[in-house]
Point group: C2
Chain length 588, copies 2
């Protein structure tokens, strides 16, 4: 990955302090235009973040104020150390859900221990991300394949949405990660529905959906928050049983050491790992998108460091785990963010709100926060991907379906783990039984193709042309040897192997080639190899196989080999082995 | 894998009872010649098996008689259900070591509970193997790569050899799987060495090594057993402190239900799995070798069923886990075994020994059994493989070294698990950063090769020819996109991608191709694909990418594509897409 995070012409990021604080690079040549963009973007994002932050804190099982605490220091720290210029860091739905799933195992929702553990979790997530970044392990996120992410996200969206049902209906439904339990409980208690609460929720959802459709640039969350707060306050609906946010402590969070509870930390380490990965994945995906759009690079490992520091430092000021969010980053970029200073502006406005405006949140109905969450996450249910995979690659669809089903039916962590493990297992399994094709020459060309797909391909009697479509390694040598036995023809005197698909060869593969050669020799069959790649030729050369087979059995092309095998050409052709000595470094 | 286990001309094994009892197939056309071979081989193998069986039982921590019990019923059952005709089933060193490692965790060596658990373990191993065979999971053995097996075997040989040190030196050394502990204990107690015992052991080892070298066909184990027994008896050495086998109960083992102790079974399940796999692996390797030499097929899944039944049935008659052994199979084959009836002959002779000759074992010194074990296993330390891998593939040598070190330093099960997991991780990891080559045309050919390896390869200005040497999947799309960015040249107007190494394409890979295409188009660069394989073309066709790119951008060969890109040929050439509709079944 490129180390660069600013246009190469502006500054060399490999030198000086800007290597460690990318913002120094982006601030070179900072002008009024940039400042205007960052100010506008920071303000717009803050207007979205304040209600969202409170809503996601509620989703995480925390008092709403913690959503604002998490929207403060982490943004400033990321602005200094992150490599994306548009990324809007803060509380997000998926991470909040994972926090709830993890911490609710250890303490009852709403207790002070719950808050303590959520903050400890931020510290753990930060340390994990920091460590992964410093050890350059950012690549592990590549193992979260798109189908797995899609299945997981869709299931999580359903779980998140249903978890807010209790706020929408206005009666208590025990927290559960089992969808059917929530639905059954909701159905059983449906007669307890608090109708005013339901009306507020449905009204908010309708307003949010309508504004998203017809006035997408409008600060819709702020509008429903202000309107509903005024309505509740004006009509005194809180006295009629509408749940409200209530008293919110004014002022900035105090700095304090997160509680280092080792036994809790041990129990949280699984969910911390999940948050570190899932959070980073969401963040890096959106950071890369906007980096591409704005023509600069983000570095996965530096992003891990930036997010890790944001979480670690945040944990000292009451923040629960944060990451770069999808929708707010889009708003931030659209509103004109030029550098990560936009995030500092956002944090300043959140700080102002905490100092001066918390009394205004008193009458905010919780049902509106639930409506904000629901409209945000139901857009994440990804039906288009299901249709696409059905058409393109059913095997990937199976992985999506498996991840979705396990996430919904068993749990959030098992879901993502199952998806990752199953995808890797499928990858390995498919490499154990590779595609093998019998080739023939296409008329009027020297190209050889699968005879099953090209009925006009010409084969020569006695010469079998085969293509192995896989690296040859210990996991598939048994299969390949059996396949070669199966395709052996009674009268053949030569096998031409098109090795263009053999990208690698390990010692077991080399040994298998020896056995195959011995077998063919015993049966009077010649073995010709064509299109052997450098790394594979290196192995053959070092092991002595190339010499045993004879350099004249290596051909540059299948056509050369077949012509020799059929006696059509006795003229010398350039051989398939290069003169260069094998190298170990290239053989990888 | 082929279902056939007898020459196809003799009988169709898919029909009738012989499908389930392969011996019925092998007995068709059984004649005097066959009977003579089987009788001679069965007798020879029995002569080797009786001392070896007692020795390996001792290695497993069991009284020697259990080695004979394990050489009885399992051989008969395997003879009925196994597909190999030369395989000699019974106690082997590696499995005996694993039995000791597992059972010694649960009960003190020599106790009756120890024996009970060893027999329970045989039942568990049998059930696991039977299940794997019935569910056709025989392929999992392919994941034990040769380097891992070699490292594991060498380390196990050292552990086995050292575990016999106490019998050779004649004083008590506590059982340990930590090599340094055994060596330290032996050194600390060296003054306690029983010199007569040591002399017997060293004499036996010298005799065994000499006979192996100068008279390999001689029944050397029997010779040292008989000679040493006579010496001990004649000189009354047992009264001078030489440990002897002592009274061996006469008669066949009684049939009885293995003790179904669930809590013990739970603790043994890990070692049972290891034995099931390692035992099967040793067995199938040797079975395949002799099947190839004798021109018939063995079926991995049927072998699992055969060995599984042998272990299950054996457990009802006092047998501990068995498998097909390397050295005895070699002797069996050399002595002329034609069918698995040779094993029945062996079992009959063991039965005879149990009924009539057990008093003869009384004076057999244990040091001789230790000498038999040591000479058997030290030959397994595989230095040649280390040298070979150093030359051919250092990466595989690293796996061997890792497995060896963990097996020796941590333990037997962790060793094999580490080896398997590390090999798979390396496989996956290397697929995430594949080899990418810039190609040029070799003079006077139409072949394109890596310009770094072929300095005379000709490149065309403005046309970049690339070859990706890997399937494109979710784990490497990020790496490949970055690599393409890095190799991009300022003045290029066309990228020709040689797709011959792209053996598979998943949905993430397809999406990456779309992004790459969009990026190139935005920068005014043409993308040509050559040598695209059928399974990959199918994905491109189904996703609509082939249409978006344009069918005229697919070429049969790199040369066609480069000629078009450089304007050398405007003549129509046959395209790189076939007319056939994509098929789902082929796309795998």
């Amino acid at each position: 990955m490129s180390e660069s995070n600013v246009p190469r012409s502006v500054a060399d990021p490999r030198r000086g302090l800007s290597r460690y604080m990318p913002i120094l690079g982006s601030l070179r040549g900072y002008d009024r235009q940039n400042a205007k963009g960052d100010l506008a973007a920071g303000l717009t994002t803050a207007v979205m973040l304040i209600p969202q932050g409170m809503a996601y804190a509620m989703l995480a099982g925390l008092p709403p104020i913690y959503g604002l605490y998490a929207s403060l220091l982490p943004l400033v720290v990321y602005a200094l150390f992150g490599t994306s210029r548009q990324l809007a860091v803060g509380p997000v739905a998926m991470v909040s859900l994972l926090v709830a799933a993890g911490v609710s195992q250890l303490a009852p929702t709403g207790s002070s221990a719950y808050v303590t553990y959520a903050i400890l979790l931020a510290l753990m997530v930060g340390v994990l991300q920091l460590g992964m970044g410093l050890f350059r392990l950012g690549f592990v996120v590549n193992f979260l394949s798109h189908p797995v992410i899609s299945g997981f996200t869709s299931a999580a969206a359903i779980i998140i949405g249903l978890s807010q049902l209790k706020e929408v209906l206005g009666f208590k439904i025990p927290r559960s990660h089992h969808v059917h339990e929530i639905i059954l409980q909701a159905a059983a208690g449906i007669h307890q529905t608090h109708l005013i609460t339901l009306a507020i929720a449905l009204g908010s959802i309708a307003a949010l959906v309508a504004m998203k459709r017809y006035a997408p640039a409008f600060p819709r969350a702020l509008v429903v928050v202000v309107a509903s707060t005024l309505i509740v306050w004006g009509f005194g609906l809180h006295d009629h049983g509408v749940a409200i946010v209530g008293d919110v402590p004014a002022g900035l969070p105090s700095l304090s050491l997160p509680a280092l509870d080792w036994s809790a930390a041990k129990q949280l380490v699984g969910v911390a790992m999940a948050i570190a990965l899932v959070g980073f994945m969401e963040s890096i995906a959106v950071a890369k998108k906007y980096a591409r759009d704005n023509k600069y690079d983000v570095d996965a490992n530096k992003e891990l460091v930036g997010l890790g520091l944001a979480n670690v430092v945040g944990a000292f000021a009451g923040s629960y785990p944060v990451t770069g969010g999808f929708s707010r980053t889009a708003v931030n970029a659209q509103a004109g963010a030029r550098t990560s200073l936009a995030g500092v502006v956002t944090a300043a406005i959140v700080a102002l709100a905490l100092i001066a405006f918390t009394p205004l949140f008193h009458f905010l109905p919780k049902a509106v926060l639930a409506a904000i969450i629901m409209t945000a996450v139901f857009g994440l249910i990804d039906v288009a991907e299901v249709k696409h995979l059905w058409k393109v690659k059913r095997r990937d669809l199976a992985m999506l379906g498996l991840t979705f089903a396990v996430t919904l039916g068993v749990g959030i962590e098992p879901g993502i783990i199952t998806g990752v493990v199953a995808s890797l297992a499928l990858l390995v399994w498919s490499s154990t039984r590779p595609h093998v094709a019998v080739l023939g020459r296409l008329p009027e060309t020297t190209a050889y193709r699968n005879v099953e797909r090209y009925p006009d391909a010409i084969t020569s009697p006695g010469v079998l042309v085969l293509r192995l479509d896989a690296q040859v390694y210990y996991g598939n040598v048994a299969f390949l040897k059996e396949t070669l036995d199966q395709v052996e023809q009674r009268d053949m005197h030569c096998v031409v192997l098109d090795a263009c698909g053999i990208n690698q060869l390990d010692a077991s593969g080399e040994a298998a080639f020896r056995e195959i050669l011995d077998g063919y020799r015993a049966r009077g069959i010649d073995l010709y190899l064509a299109n052997v790649k450098g790394p594979v030729r290196d192995v053959f050369a070092r092991s002595g196989f190339a010499e045993d087979l004879g350099p004249e059995h290596f051909f540059l092309s299948v056509d050369d080999a077949v012509k020799r095998a059929t006696g059509q050409s006795e003229a010398p052709v350039r051989g398939g082995l290069s003169d260069r000595a094998p190298e170990f470094r290239r053989a990888s």
